[in-house]
Amino acid sequence: MNFRELITHRPDLAFIAHWVRNESHVLDLGCGDGVMLEYLQSDKRCLGYGVEIDDGKIPLCVNRGVSVIQQDLEAGLAMFVDNAFDTVLCLSALQMMKNVEGILADIARVGREAIVSFPNFAHWPHRLALLRGRMPVSKSLPYEWYDTPNVRCATIKDFEELANRVGLEVLECVALQDGKPVTFLPNWRGSLAVFRLRKKIAA
């Protein structure tokens, strides 16, 4: 997989891939069909592992030549030792987790840097829906309130606070809309929040 294929297929991932250094050791939590890791392996010569729970996704990863470990993220990252990875990716997965604080703390433990993305609940169509008295249903949050796998709703401002608490320092925060960064009023106009984080060094 080359960059052109990635940007056509998943522009959001293509943007995020810029933040991953060549030949780094990467863990992708909730790696899905493994497309990001396949790109990072083939184009950036990274060594990576994916973690995924979905039975249907495991063969897709395996078929792409991506190392995937089938596991529920709620069970934590005991599989991996401290500081095992240069970068830990957790892309559009956090909002489905019950123990968000626990997994973030584990990300801070096993990785030196992390890239975390989630649907921005403060995106303007969501705010508008709430003003009308309804839970938002949109392209980035495509579920009704009663059947959504997204059990955690957060805004860009909310997340920064929690990241700090578990020992992650925010290096960059970008709001993406259709895979492109939004610079003007990002917490209003971006549907996907993306954070680049670094483990805080103990003083």
Binding site: H25, L47, Y49, D55, I58, P59, L60, C61, V62, N63, R64, G65, V66, S67, V68, I69, Q70, Q71, M79, F80, V81, A84
Partner: protein, 381 residues
């Protein structure tokens, strides 16, 4: 899906001694094996399938019996044309281990030193000894490196041992429903089975061949105990529950419950074809397997020299070789930065699941072999 059709076993004699971990050796030996598919010109498409406790070199296809009865290979759902291990692509070898009772040199064969059957004198063989014997077969077949070495349960131990002993001879190791070592509980079950055999009056210290008898009662109990550990509580409950054979209690020691009937039948069937000395040998090989033992109980250190890529599969209801055991192997491989994929299949059938056809399981293995094939052909599918 089609099967590979009628197959026939081959044998190969090895006149040179096989040194064993125990310090003993087999002065010479014969291995039974079967092959399916065609070895390609650069000899890069060979796959070795390692068998578990009660299986053999007859992995796939059928033997056509004289009476028309068909004896289907034990992993026929996995190996064949268009199957996960596709014999249109790969040259697949099934090999019977020394000590077995399916034709390779075993305790029922003549010990050249005495002119009598080995019996209890057959040396204790280990997983590592089997791997060495298999490697010699590979040498003779002209296979320097396997595309994959694969096995389930005890067969998975052999696949893991291959990656450790001959790292340069294995590109992919496929370890299914296996473990880096038996737990105390596993060993306990094995010893109950062994005690059943050893205390059978027909055992005669292992020399029952000379007495023209078979320690059938011991073998039967051994198999019954083993069989319980292959099934999950749930699958037993679902299949048998407390169903009664004759609709009501019999107030005796015959068969009341269906589960009793099933286990006794399994025990009877097993004791007809399996050899008691082989059962003792193979359970010992299981007990002794522990590659971390020589590395301060550090499995990651034991696997540090491996070079292959790995696929591990476990089954959630397998309490004999539980997913936790497979995860230990994955963890040790990750620590060594080996490429490894791990699938944990939520199947209800316990340890037996590795022999059954679950579409998720089959798809993962097929995808893995598709990738091996893809890589062998320079990225072309």
């Amino acid at each position: 899906m089609s099967t590979i059709g009628i197959v026939s076993p081959q044998s190969m004699h090895f006149p040179e001694p096989l040194p064993l971990r125990s310090g003993a050796s087999l002065s010479d030996y014969t291995l039974m094996y079967e092959t399916y598919g065609t070895l390609n010109a650069d000899r890069s498409n060979a796959v070795l399938i390692c068998h578990a406790l009660n299986a053999s070199h007859h992995v796939a296809g059928v033997y056509e019996g004289v009476d028309g009865s068909r004896n289907v290979g034990w992993w026929d759902n996995m190996v064949g044309p268009g199957k996960p291990v596709d014999t249109n692509r790969f040259f697949v070898i099934g090999v019977n281990n020394p000590g077995s009772c399916f034709g390779s040199t075993g305790p029922m064969h003549i010990n050249p030193a005495t002119g009598k059957p080995y019996g209890a004198d057959f040396p204790v063989v280990t997983v590592e000894d089997w791997v060495l014997a298999q490697a010699r077969l590979a040498d003779r077949l002209g296979i320097g490196q396997f595309a994959a070495v694969m096995g389930g349960s005890l067969g998975g131990m052999q696949a893991l041992a291959w990656s450790i002993i001959f790292p340069e001879r294995v590109r992919h190791s496929i370890v299914i429903a296996s473990t880096p070592k038996l737990s105390a509980q596993n060993i306990a079950f094995n010893d109950v089975a062994r005690q059943a055999i050893l205390t059978d009056p027909d055992f005669h210290g292992g020399d029952y061949y000379a007495h023209g008898v078979v320690p059938r009662r011991g073998l039967r109990v051994a198999r019954m105990v083993g069989h319980i550990t292959y099934l999950s509580d749930d699958s037993m409950a679902e299949k048998f529950g407390r169903s009664l054979r004759n609709g009501d209690f019999q107030f005796g020691y015959g068969i009341d419950f269906e589960i009793e009937s099933y286990l006794r039948y399994q025990g009877d069937k097993f004791s007809e074809y399996f050899d008691a000395n082989t059962y003792l040998l193979i359970t010992k090989a299981l007990d002794y397997f522990d590659p971390a033992r020589g590395h301060g109980d550090d499995l990651a250190a034991a696997l540090a020299g491996t070079r292959s890529e790995f696929l591990l599969v476990s089954f959630t209801t397998d309490w004999r070789f539980s997913p936790e055991r497979s995860r230990e192997i994955v963890q040790a491989l990750v620590k060594n930065k080996r490429r490894v994929s791990y699938a944990e299949i939520d199947a209800p059938h316990g340890h037996d699941a590795f022999l059954l056809e679950d579409p998720r399981y089959m798809t993962v293995v097929k995808s893995y072999y598709d990738r091996i094939w893809h890589d062998m052909n320079g990225g072309r599918a």
